[in-house]
């Protein structure tokens, strides 16, 4: 039961083969059994979950038109504010923070009737690509406990892959949904910037952050996107373009689909076995009616310097509110105001967060602003133009999510450049603001490989359709780590 799709669980709930309470209890006991090894959850909200499950069962009994998500146990990345549930951003800074309000994403999912099992581990303030930067400890990859699950939504990815929830929310600022989805062999979608409200999502880099679903299939992602997408008056950057029915055309044939393969995605640095898995996946699409076209995204290599100026710049300002004054961590016995600021922030933030705040502060400083921030913004426009031009010729763009499969825990912690290079294939999508998915596409060295599918602005329905057809033709997304097989 723990590796089934939302659609199949919804059917079972309606056929009374199981109840939401039963399902919830199953997942809670699996979390108890396995999460000691994985560390994918920071908070388990079992009482709230069981109450929600009871309510869902009542709703299912009374309402034939209840949302498909009713009674489905999910987890939320621990940067979505959840009313009455600890929300830490995996930081000591917020290790006592219980929000009195609900983020738009979680509140819309609640309205759809989901059961909240808990809050998942992540890189502190979403800064990281390995989920090793957490105040609550590293998350392990369920496929190999020696390896990282990816980041920053590593807890969500590991929990879905290990059957510790049906689906989870994640956020993606530079690849934080797609890369862990790739490393853990699940399906993840980063929507178009502005498709999903950021209200109540603790900001890392406001112009890049976007929430999205992480699940066992494209179809499950579609159901969750349906619940969370759409205009929100509380977020000025949220688009008022109408949402689509994301499952309506999910089965449409792919005949004549033009697939762009950017040559820059298959150059130096890409692991051979990963490359082979991606090429095989592309062949599968050709069988499904796709036509491949080689394209160029010439500014890809500039996405790393551009991102690592823009994101830290915004973060340096976004994280200023964590000052020990109103909520969160405050140091013991501050001497004076300056001492309180310095020690609260110095003790409350982890190393990576401090590093990015300092980088961003530097980049925005008088005399450096033009050379760093403005230049990075100009590069960002070039990257966007590359995509706009490409989508005049192709329907979707495909490539790897990451240059390698999941690496060993600790393998890159002392080499920040190598760690930042992990994001080479994902960053440009955030800089441009387009939607993209990670879809399981095979294995390399025993670890999952994710295929990245990128689409034009607001083409989520098309992406989900493309991914779903692939999943109808392949079974990579149904593979489970032994943790689940043994269940």
């Amino acid at each position: 039961m723990v590796d089934q799709s939302i659609t199949s669980l919804a059917k079972k709930l309606r056929a009374k083969e199981t109840s939401s309470v039963e399902l919830t209890q199953d997942f809670l006991s699996r979390i108890k059994q396995f999460d000691g090894q994985l560390n994918s959850y920071i908070t388990i909200s079992d009482e709230i979950a069981l109450a929600q499950a009871e309510a869902a069962d009542k709703k299912l009994a009374a309402d034939d038109n209840a949302s498909l998500l009713t009674g489905i146990p999910v987890a939320h990345k621990d940067l979505f504010c959840t009313n009455g549930i600890l929300t830490t951003c995996a930081s000591k800074m917020l290790n006592n923070f219980v929000p009195p309000y609900e983020s738009t994403v979680t509140s819309r999912m609640q309205a759809s009737g989901v059961v909240t099992l808990g809050k998942t581990n992540m890189d502190e303030f979403a800064m990281g690509s390995s989920n090793e930067n957490s105040h609550y400890g590293a998350v392990k990859n369920p496929w190999n406990l020696e390896k990282v699950p990816g980041g920053s939504s590593g807890g969500s990815a590991a929990a879905v892959a290990a059957g510790l929830c049906v689906a989870a929310t994640g956020t993606d600022t530079g690849g934080s949904i797609r890369q862990p989805a790739s490393f853990c062999g699940i399906t993840g979608l980063k929507p178009t910037y502005g498709r999903v409200s950021r209200f109540g999502m603790i900001a890392y880099a406001s112009s890049l952050d976007q929430a999205g679903p992480m699940a066992r299939s494209a179809e499950d992602c579609a159901h969750i996107l349906q619940s969370i997408a759409g205009f929100d008056a509380n977020d000025s950057t949220c688009s008022d373009i109408a949402t689509e029915d994301y499952t309506a055309s999910i089965d449409a044939p792919l005949d004549g689909l033009i697939i762009g393969l950017p040559k820059e995605y298959f150059g130096d640095g890409l692991d051979n076995d990963v490359a082979t898995a991606i090429q095989n996946a592309v062949k599968e699409f050709e069988k499904l009616g796709g036509k491949v076209k080689e394209i160029s995204l010439p500014n890809l290599n500039l996405s790393i310097p551009s991102y690592y100026v823009i994101a830290p710049s915004e973060a340096s300002s976004n994280l200023s509110r964590f000052d020990g004054v109103r909520y969160g961590y405050r140091c013991e016995d501050p001497k004076d105001l300056m001492d309180m600021y310095k020690r609260s922030r110095g003790e409350g933030f982890g190393k990576e967060v401090q590093k990015r705040i300092m980088v961003g502060t530097y980049a925005l400083s008088e005399g450096y602003y033009d050379a760093y921030y403005l230049k990075a913004q100009r590069i960002r426009r070039l990257i966007k133009e590359d995509f706009v031009k490409a989508f005049e010729e192709v329907d979707v763009i495909m490539g790897p999510v990451a240059p390698t499969t999941a690496f060993g825990i600790g393998a890159k912690t002392d080499d920040p450049i190598a760690m930042y290079l992990e994001d080479i294939y994902t960053l440009s999508v955030n800089l441009a603001g387009i939607p993209a998915m990670s879809v399981p596409a095979g294995f390399a060295n025993g670890m999952p490989v994710g295929l990245q599918i990128m689409g034009n602005y607001f083409s989520e329905a098309k992406l989900l359709n493309v991914a779903h057809k692939f999943q109808q033709a392949t079974d990579w997304h149904t593979k489970n780590p032994s943790l689940v097989e043994g269940a």
């Binding site: 951003c89 509380n234 000025s236 915004e314 300002s317 004054v325 109103r326 925005l364």
Partner: protein, 481 residues
């Protein structure tokens, strides 16, 4: 040396919107601490700003009123610094692309000359909260009610050359924002406050001297005083061959001095950058035109109309149009009295005396425009004379009712009956027989001087109620015998 002072001003006007610049919280003075707040004003994690379009409309109104270019695309920027009452760790303001660009306004100085002052820009920004240092025994309380209250920061060119010019400029801005109804102009509550940039240079020198900035001065009088004391301080230093330090200073009205707050070296690097949580504000020409075409009458236009329509002097017209409340008061009195000149004299004269004595604004006057108008009607129809009217006004000020009520209650109605007046004059002459004798023996010049004595005695006898116009011919006739 002969120093020339150079002054530029930054005025913060709190916009009179119902809710805050970036949240739906109400704006109110004196509410319980931290009650007029939302997640946004408290700087809670994940809270996002939503721009209040009413503030936009008000800023554009101001721009149109000062002949300014309107920023068709304006951008909010974050000004980053740490302070306990700044909950987000940055103030959302505008930097490179303000809503109001270059403009100007004309001010009339005391000698009647008109001076044009350039306006560099005006931009929207949010206010911070308040730190409360009392009542917390070594700790500081934070009240975020004021957090995210909308401000329009109006920046002038360094065009002013004296304290008087600076005050005239601030008064004109005050007048414009209150006329537009975009700011209540209450300086005592800090709803309009002023930063003064001031430097000296030898007369005739083209480049500016080093300036200091005096922060948060909140009355016309303090602005004038602060400038005088700062000119004196800077001149003393320069005369002694010293150098002015570029710094921020505070004016202490109790000691009438400015003192250093922080120097340029300690100044924050605010790391401005465009706020990624807010989209650029795009305006259409139509939006701007509608606002421009519907501006209310502004002080200068009103003064011109007063001169044209009511034949007032330029000085009177300027005084009476200085604030919208004053202008409205005057026009109401003039309308009721049917005599604008008389209304002007009374509003600027007798009424202003009472207001000034009690330090009150026209909006706080004990006597309403209807009451004063009613009083003037009774002068116009000869029910009372001007002198009696003054005592009626005093009674009115003390809350004894309308002019007619007071005239009735005190029996102040003028005596106009010729027979009665003649009888009373005769009585006065009889009682002063010696003076009458003397009068009759004098030449015409001497008589003219003596007539005042008899006039005074008659008015005294009538308790001021005799109509002077009626008394004079009868008195003349009877005196001559």
């Amino acid at each position: 040396m002969n120093w020339e002072v150079v002054i530029g001003l930054e005025i913060h006007a709190q916009l009179a919107t119902k809710s805050k610049l970036f949240s739906g919280a109400a704006i109110g003075f004196g509410a319980e601490p931290n009650t007029n707040t939302t997640l946004v004003d408290l700087g809670m994690p994940g809270a996002l700003p939503v721009f209040n379009k009413e503030a936009l409309r008000m800023a554009v109104m101001f721009g149109a009123a000062v002949n300014a270019k309107i920023g068709m695309t304006s951008v909010f920027a974050r000004k980053n610094y740490f302070y306990p009452d700044l909950p987000k760790g940055y103030q959302t303001s505008q930097m490179d692309h303000p809503i109001v660009g270059e403009g100007f306004l004309d001010i009339t100085l005391d000698d009647g000359t008109v001076k044009r002052v350039g306006i560099t820009r005006a931009h929207l920004e949010e206010d911070a909260g308040k730190s409360l240092h009392e009542d917390f025994q070594g700790m500081t309380g934070i009240d975020l009610n004021r957090s995210s209250t909308p401000l329009l920061e109006i920046v002038s060119e360094p065009d002013m050359r004296s304290a008087k010019e600076a005050v005239a400029y601030v008064k004109m801005i005050h007048s414009i924002v209150t006329y537009l109804g975009i700011c209540d102009g209450n300086m005592a509550e800090g709803n309009m406050r002023c930063d003064i940039n001031i430097s000296l240079r030898p007369k005739g020198q083209a480049e500016y001297g080093t300036r200091t900035e005096i922060k948060n001065v909140n009355s016309f009088r303090f602005i004038e005083r602060a400038i005088y004391t700062e000119i004196e301080r800077q001149a003393d230093i320069l005369e002694d061959g010293g150098k002015i330090t570029q710094e921020t200073r505070l004016y202490d009205p109790d000691k009438d001095e400015t003192r250093s707050m922080r120097s340029k070296e300690d100044a924050n690097d605010y790391r401005y950058f465009p706020c990624p949580d807010l989209l650029p504000v795009e305006l259409t020409q139509e939006y701007v035109d509608i606002i421009r075409n519907n501006l209310p009458e502004l002080p200068t236009q009103k003064a011109e109309r007063f001169m044209r329509e009511y034949k007032l002097s330029e000085y009177d017209a300027n005084v009476l149009s200085a604030t919208r409340a004053m202008a409205d008061y005057f026009e109401k009195v003039a309308e009721i009295a049917g005599n604008a000149k008389l209304a002007a004299n009374w509003v600027m004269g007798e009424l202003s005396k009472y207001l000034n004595t009690e330090g009150k604004d026209i909006t706080e006057s004990n006597v309403t425009s209807e009451q004063l108008g009613g009083l003037l009607v009774r002068i116009e129809d000869n029910t009372i004379n001007g002198k009696t009217a003054k005592s009626v006004l005093q009674s009115m000020w003390e809350g004894e009712g309308s002019a007619d009520q007071i005239i009735d209650a005190k029996g102040l109605k003028q005596v106009t009956d010729t027979g009665a007046i003649e009888e009373m004059i005769q009585g006065v002459l009889d009682a002063n027989a010696a003076q009458v004798e003397q009068f009759r023996a004098s030449d015409e010049d001497k008589q003219k001087k003596m007539i005042g004595f008899f006039m005074g005695q008659v008015m005294k006898a009538s308790q001021g109620k005799a109509n002077p116009g009626k008394v004079t011919p009868i008195l003349n006739k009877l005196l001559k015998g």
